[in-house]
Symmetry: C2
Subunit: 411 residues, 2 copies
């Protein structure tokens, strides 16, 4: 039984995590949130109190910390007495925060793979480059470290494990499809930090097919998907964290990730990329000023957090999983539909932050209750899926399946 949560980060996802932790502080205990700028944490705590989100009386305290500094994070863990750390800061801080958790013996969670700020779209094996190198250290310290426990990666990994346990006898292919059919009403905006958003799509696209890594260019392979609620949507083969961990568990299956993009997004992205404006390498202006173009693009784009109040429409994220059942070919689709406006009304963030922020809090509750407190490092597909998916349903992310017979029903 662990309790007391330290949230690292103060962006849109951290906002959701904070609200959801508050809604379950009877289980989770004292709450803390820390980022480089304490004022951002104060604003999140203020929004929690505005919504009267604290289930029972308790503390929720803001802290300033440099999450790139392991010693500082470890000191904060000790100071707060947190036994569970939910890291939803920038992808650049995973390894330093994980190290602080190993040092202090507390549970660790994140929602995206570690990135080196100086490298873009590293080649697989992604988890192998960073997090998995600390597997033995976690085991030796008895530290529960759950990697990539947002929606994708995260819930979509649990879907595969559930299909393995309940719906299929063999798994031959896993296609994760992520569609945002919502609209923010701006001419163009990214749904999260433009610097991170564009980095995902500027390099080679990796997928796992025929037992090996395959490479494509971004927007080279597109496919229309006919999905519940959001209808027919075009998505493109994209590299994504969970392709790596799932291909490690299901090496005989094809594992592909598909991200939905409208023609407008692709056009803007293509123009910026081809002009060199998404580059992280400094250029020199005629006046001699050294500037990183991507940082200027970020500066002119709307702040993703500012989109939430006007965001309408729905997201649909799910797994098309093919294999066999009773010796016959079978296909299942496990999925969630979330609504931007409902998310904003509940926690002050749009639907994409909501789907990413609820799962780590569900995981924290499962750790607090001992169900997922496994004492080693794990990706989500290595953990029992049903308690997680059922808890998510209670917490606002209902999960459904279209089973092999075509019936659409709750999981």
């Amino acid at each position: 039984m662990k309790k007391n949560v330290l949230i690292i980060g103060a962006g849109g996802v951290a906002q959701v995590v904070a609200h959801k932790c508050a809604q379950h502080n009877d289980i989770l205990g004292d709450l803390h949130i820390a980022s480089r700028t304490a004022a951002k944490c104060d604003a999140i705590i203020a929004s929690v109190h505005e919504k009267n989100a604290m289930k029972v009386q308790g503390t929720f305290t803001a802290h300033a910390v440099d999450a790139m500094d392991t010693a500082a994070v470890a000191a904060l863990i000790r100071q707060t007495g947190a036994q569970i750390v939910i890291n939803v800061g920038s992808s650049f801080v995973n390894m330093t925060v994980l190290e602080a958790c190993i040092e202090t013996g507390v549970a660790y969670m994140d929602t995206a793979i570690h990135e080196d700020p100086k490298k873009i779209c590293e080649a697989p094996p992604w988890y192998g480059n960073y997090e998995w190198q600390r597997r033995e250290a976690c085991k030796a310290a008895g530290v529960t470290a759950i990697l990539g426990v947002g929606f994708d990666p995260g819930v979509v990994n649990a879907y595969v494990r559930l299909a393995e346990e309940e719906f299929l006898d063999t798994i031959e292919s896993i296609d994760i499809v992520d569609i945002n059919a919502g609209s923010h009403g701006r001419w163009f905006a990214t749904n999260f930090d433009p610097e991170i958003n564009f980095r995902e799509f500027t390099g080679t696209v990796y997928s796992w097919q025929k037992g090996a890594w395959q490479t494509n260019k971004m927007f080279e392979v597109g496919k229309e998907w006919d999905l519940p609620v959001v209808g027919t949507q075009k998505a493109y083969l994209t590299g994504h964290d969970e392709v790596h961990s799932l291909s490690a568990r299901y090496p005989g299956a094809d594992v592909r990730f598909w991200m939905g993009f409208g023609d407008h997004y692709i056009n803007v992205f293509t123009v910026l990329k081809n002009l060199g404006l998404l580059s992280e390498k400094p250029v020199k202006t005629a006046e001699g000023q050294e500037v990183i173009p991507l940082k200027v693009v970020k500066a002119v784009l709307p702040d993703p957090a500012s989109l939430a109040p006007d965001y309408v429409g729905k997201t649909c994220i799910g797994d098309v999983i093919r294999g066999t059942k009773d010796g016959k070919p079978a296909e299942v689709f496990l999925y969630n539909v979330a609504d931007h406006k409902e998310a904003y009304e509940e926690v002050g963030s749009q639907g994409i932050s909501y789907t990413a922020g609820v799962p780590p809090v569900a995981a924290a509750i499962l750790i607090a209750k001992g169900i997922w407190d496994v004492g080693h490092m794990a990706n989500v597909e290595e953990l029992p899926p049903r308690p997680f998916l059922e808890l998510l349903g209670e917490m606002g992310l209902p999960n459904r399946v279209i089973d092999a017979s075509g019936q659409d029903r709750p999981i």
Copy 2:
């Protein structure tokens, strides 16, 4: 009889001016070229000598000068003994260089209207805002100042005057059409300084119709034109210098300027503009650096001078002039077709610089010979057109007319 030429500027057009002056140095005398960076002038002079462009033995000397400093320009005029100044520097220096010419009593020429670096797309009357305010001063000093004597403005103004003198009895409309049907082979590039290029198209579009200034948005009014050599091309109503001076001389005529743009250019421009990347107002990055987005766009785009070696294809620039002849409606089209590769082989610049750079040298020769040395300020349509157009034909810019009977012939 004036002689000795000082060229201000060291860009692509200055390169053409230098070569063409050298080819006529028997008439023009000593040649000088000055810009902020003397090394750029040295490179231009070196390319002149490489091509053995000097017609007779003579001097061609490079100088460094801050053209925004009237006293410095005046001192250089006195030092060089130049009696003719060809200003093909940035549009920001017109007024200071003009002032130096008035002060020293020498002839002045430029190829584009003065711009205040701090203002974008000023409202008409453009010449009235700056150059024409010095008309009286030129007259008093007996200074010949020929404004806008590139191709457009410049040659296209002479076309109208020639139509008035030789082809039509009345002029009811003047449509200047500028098509670059060439290809530089890059994904995207501007043909001259991106900062100046984009400035032209970020504001309101002004045209002179029904006896008054009319306003439109950029790319709002498009029209297909069927032209000699380059075929059917789409062009868009655009504000341009000569719309002002021609509407002052022909107030009863509609005067419109049409610039050809491909869909690709429009798309890139639209993305950059809508994102705010063409802004001259500084933005602050997340790291606190103040940056002017347009200067970063300029930094990532190809240097326009670098396009010349690979440029192929042709330009067609001309005037569709409608009115009456012998009491009947009549239409004439006066035009030039230039070839990018031929221009590069002759003077080391692409066709757009060539069409802009040859006319001021023709004008310099006409001033040297006394034909255009009028001793006051003039736009090109106020000067006798035939000597100018005939000289241009001899110098590499042949001019043709499709007359009211439909016959296509040399002017």
